[in-house]
């Protein structure tokens, strides 16, 4: 099955475009995500099942750490680099390379 997704079209009120069906006649946007038929994972294939079992065994043997430890390390990284983050703290407009080029006319 081919699945299309649409963007909503805003008129007075809202018209939601359902997946695969658009009721509004104005221009609608189609984003073709899948062009082929997506096959369901057929479990009748022996070798695929064997590969799946091997993969699951591999994933189960991964070394894991506690979420609390991982979270504290993520937080530490954030706070360490927060000063350098221009989007977070903002830069003075003078050094912002994307400032609008100013030109003032004196009256």
């Amino acid at each position: 099955k081919i699945i299309y997704t649409h963007a909503p079209v805003h008129k007075e009120g809202r018209h939601w475009c359902k997946k695969g069906h658009c009721r509004v006649k104005t221009e609608y946007n189609i984003y073709i995500k899948r062009l082929t038929v997506t096959t369901m994972t057929s479990n009748s294939n022996l070798s695929t099942m064997r590969r799946l079992v091997e993969q699951l065994k591999l994933e189960a043997s991964v070394e894991r750490i506690k979420v609390s430890q991982a979270a504290t390390e993520l937080q530490q990284y954030c706070l360490q680099n927060a000063g350098k983050d221009a989007l977070l703290v903002g830069v003075p407009t003078g050094s912002n390379p994307f400032r609008e080029p100013r030109s003032c006319a004196v009256v």
Binding site: L56, L58, R64, V67, A71, L74, Q80, T93, R102
Partner: protein, 424 residues
């Protein structure tokens, strides 16, 4: 087993029949019967082992979930409670890049933090200078829906691809009049559309993902396939390389709701995460490389930690019902930008899980979002044919002092004479 006994019984019966009535027909019938019986038993054997494997895989899956749940002792936002909140943010659009004739599908920054390459539905790939908004190069691809484009780390080439199932590399030259299409090099060959491409740390290798469910690593010079990655059950929509110099892993997200982490050298899938409820449109590594975020059609962004091997945060709101098309982190990893299909950009606080800002400005869905390499600004491309470069808006005393000196001088002189007149 009983099946084998049945076969033996049938064979004995056939031999007895042959002895009693020795005719050709009888012998032929016996042989045919034996063949049918053996095939039936083979089928039965396969079904038995399939059932056995299925039960084994189910038990392994539950065991995996248990192992992961054991280490889930606390949530990320609980750990981050002591961190001070960010307050309200204001972002301002600094540049609007107009020039595409149709929907902008993908964009990438150059390492020099000022050039941008973007691709659109009509097949055009344009290289912009974000500071001046000038177009530096423009290439017309022979196909439409150019869904992937990438800038080489050296800044000397761009790679793009889409419905033509190929990834083409165009070397950029300083001569503006040169016909870039003549120097095109076709690198990747897939059996379905190209959804994402990215150069590795050098100009020499490209990683691509495709609608045929595979990712592949190619050598640019020879066009040879170095490694292919199989494991997704449906189209792969996005990929991102680990940020470290020595890292050789990458993460890919697909329509099968799974995000897989791969080892580039061996081609093995190291970890797999399946908690999204719909297609994963975009994945991006956390700046430290220990986690990654994903955005999906189920209107949520999720953060997965690689060392804890599980999802650690969900960024969603009941009022947001449109899917996320692209995500990116700010430089420190504190902010997560998400481009949504309801034409807005939501900015999330990664540690606390709350939304800090919402940005409007695009007139159609936001299809791509990237933060610049030095973190000063981010660029968004949308189906309204434009790209917008935005950065945070900070009003401070510095902005007054930073006016150009001659303007400041004339203003001072003006006010001086003004006050002189009032006094006199």
């Amino acid at each position: 087993m009983c099946i084998i006994l049945c076969i033996i019984f049938c064979i004995i019966l056939c031999i007895i029949m042959c002895i009693i009535v020795i005719t050709k027909m009888c012998i032929i019938m016996c042989i045919v019967l034996c063949i049918i019986l053996s095939m039936a038993t083979q089928e039965l054997q396969i079904n038995e082992s399939l059932a056995h494997l299925k039960t084994e895989s189910e038990s392994l899956k539950t065991k995996l979930e248990e192992e992961r749940a054991k280490l889930h002792d606390v949530e990320l936002h609980q750990v981050a409670e002591k961190v001070e909140g960010l307050g309200q943010f204001v972002m301002k659009t600094r540049r609007t890049l107009k020039g595409h004739g149709n929907k902008v599908l993908c964009m990438d920054w150059c390492k020099d933090k000022r050039r941008i390459v973007s691709s659109s539905q009509d097949g055009k790939v344009i290289v912009w200078d974000a500071f001046t908004t000038n177009k530096e190069h423009a290439v017309t691809m022979p196909c439409t829906w150019v869904m992937a484009c990438a800038y080489a780390p050296s800044g000397c080439a761009v790679a793009c691809g889409g419905l033509d199932n190929k990834c083409s590399v165009y070397p950029l030259s300083l001569d503006k009049n040169e016909n870039l299409a003549a120097k095109k090099k076709s690198v990747a060959m897939h059996t379905n559309y190209l959804s994402a491409c990215s150069f590795t740390n050098s100009d020499m290798q490209i990683l691509t993902s495709s609608g045929d469910g595979t990712c592949a690593l190619w050598d640019v010079e020879s066009g040879q396939l170095l490694q292919s990655f199989h494991g997704h059950a449906a189209d792969v929509l996005c990929l991102d390389l680990a940020p470290s110099e020595t890292g050789n892993t990458f993460v890919s997200g697909g329509c099968d709701k799974k995000a897989n982490v791969w080892d580039m050298r061996s081609g093995q899938c190291i970890q797999s995460f399946e908690t999204h409820e719909s297609d994963i449109n975009s994945v991006r590594y956390y700046p430290s490389g220990d986690a990654f975020a994903s955005g999906s059609d189920d209107a949520t962004c999720r953060l997965y930690d690689l060392r804890a091997d599980r999802e650690v945060a969900i960024y969603s709101k009941e009022s947001i019902i449109f899917g996320v098309s692209s995500v990116d982190f700010s430089l420190s990893g504190r902010l997560l930008f998400g481009g949504y299909n309801d034409y807005t950009i939501n900015v999330w606080d990664v540690l606390k899980g709350t939304r800090v800002s919402i940005l409007f400005g695009h007139e159609n869905r936001v299809s791509t979002l990237r933060v610049s390499p030095d973190g000063t600004a981010f660029c968004t491309g949308s189906w309204d044919h434009t790209l917008r470069v935005s950065s945070s808006f900070s009003f401070s005393l510095f902005s007054v002092i930073s006016l150009s000196p001659e303007v400041l001088l004339t203003h001072c002189v003006f006010f001086f004479f003004f006050f002189l007149q009032i006094w006199a």
